[in-house]
Subunit: 342 residues, 2 copies
């Protein structure tokens, strides 16, 4: 049998007598033969695989509930369309290298900011790409959420409750040189900080630099951030945390110091991951449609892949909203008194 016949038997059985086709497949089965998947990709010119580009190592990604939820959205949309998923993380520290090697038809890049050291190389790869949580590459479509608006709502909420001494727990910028460090993409922290500032400024509250502490975007990171602030002598009555994990860590730290929540300290998170509603007291937080971001990103990516030439990139901005739960309450009375006397 010629290899043509074998190929037909697998992909185009109509071009063979049904008898020969079955015979070929039987022989193939008994020999344990399968068409080499890579070779067929070469001619088919598409892999039916989408890449998820993450600036951090996969081991970090998967331990982050935020990414899990985002991936769920991406997976949902991709699977519906028959695409598989391939995760692209820095290879030997280089994202651009990993991307060059990636056998995918398109890429969803999460948190790829314009000041990433390799952004130019990534840009030049020619692969269809959609950015999530960044709009820094305007030639590519993007999906962002209203970080600033959400943060402002959070800040206005605590200001409205009478809080004046407000600690901002920020996610630290992942050090670009050590890709293994966790953290939230760069621009996000900036936008949220701007939102906090705007929301507090409306009540004439200014956030001094010592009232901003940063840490890894994890429960432990939030815990130690709060502890550092306390040790520094700060006595916040409210905490604005840039991630739910950090908010929960701050809650834990506050409890260990004997503070009650929300009686002594109010705490607001960001993201609204599943966990936020499960802790006690349930966390007041800014909801963002994480899963939906993944779905929309894939949708935009497929548009970009289809109309390869001269298509207008689309820039999507999804809403955030404050969800008030049990972790925030009025500022303690005596503190308001103290302030008044000062």
């Amino acid at each position: 049998m010629s290899k043509t016949a074998v190929s037909f038997a697998f992909n185009n059985p109509d071009r063979l007598s049904s008898e020969t086709a079955t015979r070929i497949r039987e022989v193939a089965d008994s020999l344990g033969y399968r068409p080499h998947p890579v070779a067929r990709l070469l001619t088919q010119r598409q892999t039916m695989t989408l890449g998820v580009l993450t600036p951090q190592a996969l081991a970090v990604i998967f331990s982050n509930p935020f990414f899990a939820l985002f991936s769920e959205g991406v997976a949902h949309a991709a699977e519906d369309l028959g695409y598989e998923l391939h995760f692209i993380s820095p290879r030997n520290g280089s994202l651009a290298l990993a991307m060059r090697r990636a056998t995918v038809d398109g890429v969803v890049a999460i948190g790829l900011s314009g000041d990433h050291p390799e952004v130019e190389q990534i840009r030049g790869s020619g692969l269809p790409m959609v950015l999530v949580d960044s709009e820094d590459l305007p030639e590519h479509s993007s999906v962002v959420v209203d970080d600033e608006g959400g943060a402002r709502a959070a800040a206005e909420h605590v200001a409205g409750l009478g809080h004046r001494d407000i600690l901002v727990v920020a996610v630290e910028r992942p050090d670009a040189s050590s890709a293994r460090e966790p953290g939230t993409p760069d621009g996000v922290a900036d936008r949220r900080l701007r939102g906090y500032r705007a929301g507090l400024a409306a009540s004439d509250i200014d956030v001094g630099p010592e009232w901003i502490v940063a840490g890894r975007a994890s429960i432990d990171g939030g815990e130690s951030a709060f502890q550092r602030a306390w040790a520094f002598g700060l006595r916040p009555s409210a905490v604005l945390a840039m991630s739910d994990a950090m908010a929960i860590g701050s809650m834990r730290a506050a409890r260990q110091l004997g503070l009650r929540i929300p009686d002594d300290v109010s705490i607001v998170g960001f993201d609204d991951i599943d966990l936020a509603a499960l802790v006690d007291p349930a966390l007041t937080t800014v909801h963002q449609p994480i899963r939906q971001k993944g779905i929309d990103a894939v949708r935009l990516l497929l548009t970009e892949m289809e109309l390869r030439a001269g298509n207008q990139p689309e820039h999507l901005r999804l809403e955030t909203r404050l969800i008030v739960r049990g972790s925030t309450g009025p500022a303690p009375r005596e503190r308001q008194e103290v302030r008044r006397l000062e």
Copy 2:
């Protein structure tokens, strides 16, 4: 320039004058050219990618903290060794088809039981493969945990606290025909149930079939399972749940019925995901080294890939252990009285 020269410029610059090599790369850059990743795979005969075979859809996988933690382990080990990750889930409902098409060097199969309808085809694919949570394909290496022992310890714990009316909240078998259904792999539920039975039998407690309720392995699944049992008229003083998520769901359902935990109802989970320590009261549960399973699976897979011929498969069994936290306590007094009177 010949394409040979271009190839050398990228992979083997020493064979070109350094001047030509840089020139070629510059031109390539300016033209936005990158070597076709698929074509190079074809000659290199390895993809440097490992597959993670999951019997359920990816959208389901990523919403499951258990899988997230397992993937974290796999990713950690794979990345250290320079491998990337490709998730293989049923394609058009067929796992075997997805696997035939997968461009990977080896596969970690999670929860692939011997009675999976396509197991024979998967078996015949010839790809190096390691099984996790199943030992049904003895020719492949495997990693399992002592489910039965852990379940027995959990059962002995509640029996020792004086509980007699014990509800088992089981993970339902995912329907093989509809791969989109969530749930825990088949064999696992059986093993855990055996363990529960053994542990309770030691205290002469028999679990009747009406005391076993099944549901999806999620918080919602656990919640509705407990509600169903209650509506059926069962009044358990303790719950043995086969997953932490279901345990937490049962906690929620019990609370809504006005029951206190652990005063009125004790609850035990399984897995010891992060969340288990964070809920209030903290969940008593059976710890299993989920992350380690992923790491070990990759390690075994690489051995299997290296010594392709005539190697002995290795079968690893990791320990489980009961972690007693706040969700379990002594059986309510009055109920013990009632029993004594009967």
